[in-house]
């Protein structure tokens, strides 16, 4: 077994061990309620963790010779540029353009287009660094400390946006991703309709005395559906320019899985109910993100294609 493979295996086993420690030592032995799991769902939970780790390992094993995993000088600089831009944009757009806080301080962020674009243009590693480190620095310069699960979630957005490079038949993979993303967006919307009484913590209208205490509005609840429609429009309107559609579609999947990861982990980390995490946190964050992505990512991909043509790199 080569050294890299064994180190990846050790990492996966370590992650599993950490999870087991959290459940058995913190949950059962020390009796912390938040980490406890009843025996009925124990198998299910561990099953999901094992499944996740196996998927991660399979992605690594079948693609370990792919060029997308290489980190050279260019990637190091792009990582840094992406992360710095993401931090700066998050800071400016949080502070000067929109100040709309949500559960766990999620804000409307046009900056989300940056990890998606960097992931798509420069590969999954650059995308992950851009999202994760950019979010970390963005949070730090806004003065709110760090929330690791949101940094990893944002990292996943960029990581998944960079995955098309791994597929030989990119068109087929992208079409599959469009289906998967579409179905996930529909499921999230159904969850909204089943729990439409949840409050939307993102809506502030100080002039009218509304302070985030109104039930989630229809527009916010179905924003991810609006985003999906925009993605479909982009996909078919730019039929000839494959890159634009591809970037937006993979960005959509990254957005749903990455933000979903962060929101769902808040069920355990911050003790939200699943409905509050999905309707109060995931939808108001991922829905607008998707709208921003569908409009801004094509602009960035188009502008970068023009630069590439000029510079020949």
């Amino acid at each position: 077994m080569d050294k890299r493979l064994s180190s990846v295996l050790i990492w996966l086993v370590a992650i599993f061990a950490i999870f087991a420690v959290i459940v058995f030592v913190l949950g059962n032995l020390l009796g912390i309620e938040r980490f406890q799991t009843d025996s009925a769902t124990l198998g299910l939970r561990f099953g999901f963790v094992i499944l996740g780790l196996l998927i991660a390992f399979a992605v690594y094993f079948f693609n370990k010779d792919n060029k997308a995993w290489e980190v050279g000088t260019r990637e190091v600089v792009w990582m840094a540029i992406g992360a710095a831009l993401y931090a700066v944009f998050s800071w400016y757009f949080n502070a000067t353009v929109f100040v709309v806080p949500s559960l766990s301080q999620v804000a409307l962020r046009p900056a989300i287009a940056i990890p998606m674009f960097f992931g798509y243009a420069f590969g999954p590693i650059v995308g992950f660094f851009t999202g994760a480190v950019g979010n970390m620095f963005g949070d730090a310069i806004t003065g709110f400390g760090l929330s690791p699960q949101w940094s990893i979630g944002n990292g996943l957005v960029g990581f998944i946006a960079g995955l098309p490079a791994l597929f030989a038949d990119r068109k087929k993979a992208t079409d599959t991703v469009l289906w998967v993303g579409g179905v996930l967006a529909l499921i999230a919307t159904v969850v909204y309709f089943l729990n439409s009484g949840q409050t939307n913590m993102m809506f502030y209208d100080v002039n009218n005395g509304v302070f985030g205490d109104q039930p989630i509005a229809l527009a916010a609840g179905i924003s991810i559906l609006i985003g999906l429609v925009l993605v479909l429009i982009v996909r078919f309107a730019f039929g000839k320019n494959v890159n634009v559609g591809e970037a937006v579609i993979w960005g959509m999947l990254g957005n749903i899985l990455g933000i979903g990861f962060a929101a769902i982990s808040d069920i355990w980390i911050n003790g939200y109910s699943p409905a509050a995490a999905i309707v109060g946190e995931f939808l108001p964050a991922a829905g607008p993100n998707l709208i921003f992505a569908a409009i801004l990512v094509p602009l960035l991909v188009g502008a970068y294609a023009a630069v590439q043509k000029q510079s020949g790199r």
């Binding site: 190091v76 710095a84 700066v88 944009f89 009218n208 709208i291 409009i295 801004l296 630069v307």
Partner: protein, 291 residues
């Protein structure tokens, strides 16, 4: 052109007398410990540490005035919004004791805006203010007191691989530069009649209008990166294990700082696991509110 953070060497600065690696580790422990508590009595010592570090940092008020006013303003607005809505606090307390209720004389679609002032909301806002401003103060001080020449070796010394440490180094250096570029682009677009404050139109139109800000800044950064990539390639970046210009060596006081940080963290986690430091309201106030 790179723009730097406002670091300079300051004599008699407490924070700068430590190895940056030790300080980053202490900061990490401080951060996690603060996040373990909601009880204002437990949070006050952290606030005290933050104030001590601030007052002994040697950073002059005029140097950090802007950043400070912005962040404290932001923290204050957040705490105030929390106070008005009770948002966020509902996971920490179940029962609220009403002090006074203000109700609007009108209603929108059958919903009458009302403001309940309760003991819990007031204390939650206070706790949140103390908690977030402790973290904010410690965070603001880092760019002012960490030598940019040491970013890379600091992250390397914390155990990151060479390439990732260098990427972190570049990220920290690029942030002020891109911030300047963003301002310049905004001014340039304003000079051409683009008003960011008055973006009109529907949602899609508003989002699209952010393009003239984001696209030039991003593309300019990517084009500019070619020079840096060339410079790094010319110096054979990434060919072998990296050597750094400066070396960092732990002194005794650095080890003490790390030890103190770890002790605070372990103590805080232990208290938190035992159920201490949860949201707290003075019983006298509850009695006053009729609870």
């Amino acid at each position: 052109m790179l723009v730097a953070w406002r670091y300079r060497k300051r004599e008699h600065s407490f924070i700068q007398s430590f190895d940056p690696r030790a300080w980053i580790m202490f900061y990490g422990c401080f951060l996690m410990s603060t996040l373990a508590f909601w009880d204002v009595r437990y949070l006050l010592p952290f606030f005290g540490i933050a104030l001590f570090v601030l007052l002994t940092s040697g950073v002059k008020w005029h140097e950090m005035r802007r950043a400070f006013l912005f962040i404290i303003g932001f923290v204050f607005i957040f705490a105030f919004l929390t106070f008005l809505t009770g948002r966020g606090g509902t996971e920490l307390y179940v029962q609220e004791h009403l002090i006074r209720r203000f109700e609007a004389s009108f209603s929108i679609f059958g919903w009458t805006p009302a403001l309940d002032i309760t003991v819990e909301r007031v204390f939650f806002a206070v706790s949140q203010f103390v908690r977030v401003s402790s973290i904010a103060v410690m965070t603001i001080l880092i760019p002012y007191s960490l030598d940019p020449a040491l970013y890379g070796i600091t992250f390397r010394g914390l155990g990151l691989p060479d390439k990732i440490a260098y990427a972190m180094d570049l990220t920290m250096r690029f942030i002020p530069t891109f911030s300047r570029d963003f301002q310049l682009t905004m001014d340039a677009q304003r000079a051409r009649g683009y008003e960011l404050e008055k973006i009109k139109g529907g949602l899609f139109e508003q989002v699209r209008k952010l393009g003239p800000l984001m696209v030039p800044v991003t593309i300019h950064a990517i084009i500019g990166s070619e020079d840096i990539i060339d410079a790094m390639d010319l110096r054979a970046f990434g060919i072998g294990p990296r050597t750094w210009l400066q070396n960092l060596i732990y002194k005794f006081k650095d080890r003490v700082l790390i030890g103190v940080g770890l002790a605070i963290l372990l103590f805080s986690l232990a208290l938190s696991v035992l159920g201490q430091g949860q949201f707290w309201v003075p019983p006298q106030l509850l009695a006053l509110a009729g609870g």
